[in-house]
């Protein structure tokens, strides 16, 4: 019998040396004449411990981390293959408090299994949702998703079941399922982790969506910045075809579902669903006017479901355990779990999947352990580049769509970027304007011109020029963007800009809060 060793293939783990560690472990085992089976699992999402190596023992999985190549010989020396004591030993993986305190539904398998091993997926409850769905009538599948209370995790939080219902009820000889895997928000990586760490769950979710609404073709629109996810998805799709989980006759049901990955090309706006569809059609990613809704006239003019990776990857467990099971997690109208991503200047950065309702403060300190620099946390940007900056005084806000809306903030895709007290919020506001200018699709004037103008005004403010004129000018520009933009790129850039100004006026050279008005 050989020892089983796990070294993550997740790109963040690789960025910290996981491939070199894996090679060193193989080499050291050979040198010592020990038979090992090395599995490249996904990441558990405890990135300060990556590369985190796990070994399978009779008492369960034991973790070691962060492991560097230079630690490998001493790990063997300490008999880590049988869970031996070592300075890097972390104990039982499942008992690590960061993991134990989470409610992992969507990420249940991520980090446990070999991502591209279909047998491993099936052994760990994979494809139970699809097998149930195949026994149900389409409107019952849609009803289960509606009952679960699942709202889109891509940012807009629109109820997934309602979207599916529209597509189901729009007759057409061709319909599409699109997975939005453009994940452009800074501070987010949950889509990437699922695609690299458990790609079959996304494939299963999309297949269920196709069966539910009567779509036979799916596309995953993947950002080009994710080469590892690309490989994992293609390998998993190939295996799903070979085993009959994809194709003209999914598991002998007589129903077809085909799936293909398409790559984006470095345009943030192509994460907006109509721009994404233009891009898939081979055009520039100009945002479309709505209506028509994509659910009625979407890709190539056909009814189309567009959902985020996490929305779709949450569907299998809903169909497996039932809408009520999922719905029992959460608070208010935010049901189920949200995979939060703790990033930036934070000691324990990682993936934290929790039922809605925990406060930002608990997340930052109980999970995150405070800033990485050890300095006070000054501000937190939640929900990507179009999300507001929150000051300390708002850290007790529960993570809930409505509670965030009430303080003029958003949860978005669940990214949480932490800044310590060395951050200058005027610089961050300038960056938001600049980002909008760089990424604007150019279709509407407020966004195209206003963001460039906004960058210039921020330059003036940072230089301390004529604040009594430039601060009101900045507010005016923000109002124009808020009210006159076709999509949320222009329409929400004022969130980070104005929240920075309102909560941190001193960084804009305003020492009396009344002057900031």
């Amino acid at each position: 019998m050989s020892f089983v060793v796990y070294v993550p293939c997740d790109s963040s783990a690789i960025s910290l040396g996981a491939n070199r560690v894996a090679a060193a472990i193989i080499q050291e085992a050979q040198k010592r004449g020990i038979a090992i089976e090395l599995v490249r699992n996904g990441s558990r999402g405890l990135f300060w411990l990556e590369p985190m190596v796990e070994v399978e023992t009779s008492a369960g999985r034991i973790a070691y981390g962060p492991v560097q190549v230079t630690d490998v010989a001493s790990l063997f020396g300490a008999n880590f293959l049988e869970g031996g004591a070592h300075a890097l030993a972390l104990g039982h993986t499942e008992e690590l408090s960061y993991l134990k305190k989470q409610q992992r539904l969507t990420f249940a398998r991520c980090g446990k299994t070999d991502p591209v091993n279909l047998d491993d997926y099936i052994k760990n409850d994979g494809y139970c949702g699809l097998s149930n769905a195949l026994k149900m009538a389409p409107h019952d599948i849609v009803k289960a998703v509606t009952d679960s209370g699942l709202r889109g995790r891509g940012g807009a939080a629109f109820p997934t079941g309602i979207k599916w219902n529209t597509v189901l009820n729009t007759p057409s000889e061709q319909k599409y399922i699109i997975c939005n895997a453009d994940e452009g928000d800074s501070g987010t990586f949950s889509d990437r982790m699922i695609m690299e760490g458990d790609p079959f769950v996304l494939i299963e979710g999309m297949t269920i969506a196709g069966i539910a609404v009567g779509a036979t073709q799916g596309y995953i629109y993947l950002r080009v910045e994710y080469p590892h996810a690309h490989k994992a998805l293609n390998s998993a799709i190939e295996k799903a075809y070979e085993a009959g989980y994809l194709g003209d006759d999914v598991l002998g049901s007589g129903k077809a579902f085909h799936l293909e990955v398409r790559l984006g090309a470095g345009a943030y706006i192509c994460g907006e669903e109509t721009s994404l569809m233009e891009s898939l059609e081979g055009k520039r990613g100009l945002v479309r006017f709505k209506p028509p809704l994509p659910a009625i006239s979407g890709l190539f003019g056909k009814p189309t479901v567009v959902n985020n990776v996490i929305s779709l990857a949450s569907v299998p467990i809903i169909l497996d355990k039932g809408g009520d099971y999922y719905r029992d997690f959460g608070m208010g109208r935010s049901r189920g779990t949200l995979p939060l991503q703790l990033a930036g200047n934070i000691k324990q950065a990682g993936l934290v999947e929790l039922a809605f309702g925990i406060t930002l403060r608990e997340l930052l300190y109980d999970f995150g352990g405070g800033s990485a620099s050890g300095r006070p946390i000054k501000a937190v940007q939640v929900g990507g580049p179009l999300g507001a900056y929150l000051p300390e005084s708002q850290f007790d806000t529960p993570l809930d769509y409505e509670a965030f809306a009430a303080i003029w903030a958003v949860l978005g895709h669940g990214g949480v970027v932490v800044f310590d007290d060395t951050a200058d919020m005027a610089t961050m506001a300038r960056y938001s304007m600049e980002f909008c200018a760089i990424e604007s699709c150019g279709k509407c004037t407020p966004c195209r011109i206003g963001s460039t103008r906004g960058t210039e005004v921020m330059d003036e403010i940072i230089e301390g020029h004529d604040l009594s004129k430039n601060i009101p000018l900045l507010r005016d520009l923000c109002n124009t963007l808020l009210n006159g933009s076709l999509c949320a790129l222009g329409g929400m850039t004022p969130y980070p800009v104005l929240s920075a100004l309102n909560h941190f006026p001193e960084d804009f050279g305003i020492n009396d809060k009344a002057d900031a008005a």
Binding site: L16, G187, T188, E225, G266, S279, G344, L351, P385
Partner: protein
Amino acid sequence: MTEPHSMQVTVQEITTALKDKPGALLPILHAIQDTVGYIPTVCVPQIAGALNLSRAEVHGVISFYHYFRDTPPGKHTIHLCRAESCQSMGGKSLESYVKTKLGIDFHETTADGKYSLEPVYCLGNCACSPAMQIDEEIYGRVSEKTFDSTLTDLENLA
């Protein structure tokens, strides 16, 4: 880099293989950039012809997307993350260091043709900021020191 003649053949092969896919233009452009390193302006008429598009349409698509380039890249392309999470961990000073070290700005290539420098807005490696990608390799918690040693490793490999 590929010779002009063989490049035309390559582009022809790629367009023929992919042109019947729905929404074929992006897959074609990716395949060309993957093989040739960039999308030479001379092959725009060829692509346009195969897809029944105008040259202006094809050109418009190439220029819309930040990732596509119409000039040859250096031997290695460095994508340095400029987005918020990386800024929170010192990304801006790393950016100035990298630019000074290479003696180029974003969207430029070093005179010796070794490195091209491109900005990127998030690599999904925000739990290990600041981050960069060189060719297909991704790097996390990049410091001035690890940036230097990474370049040294690349040069020793060559």
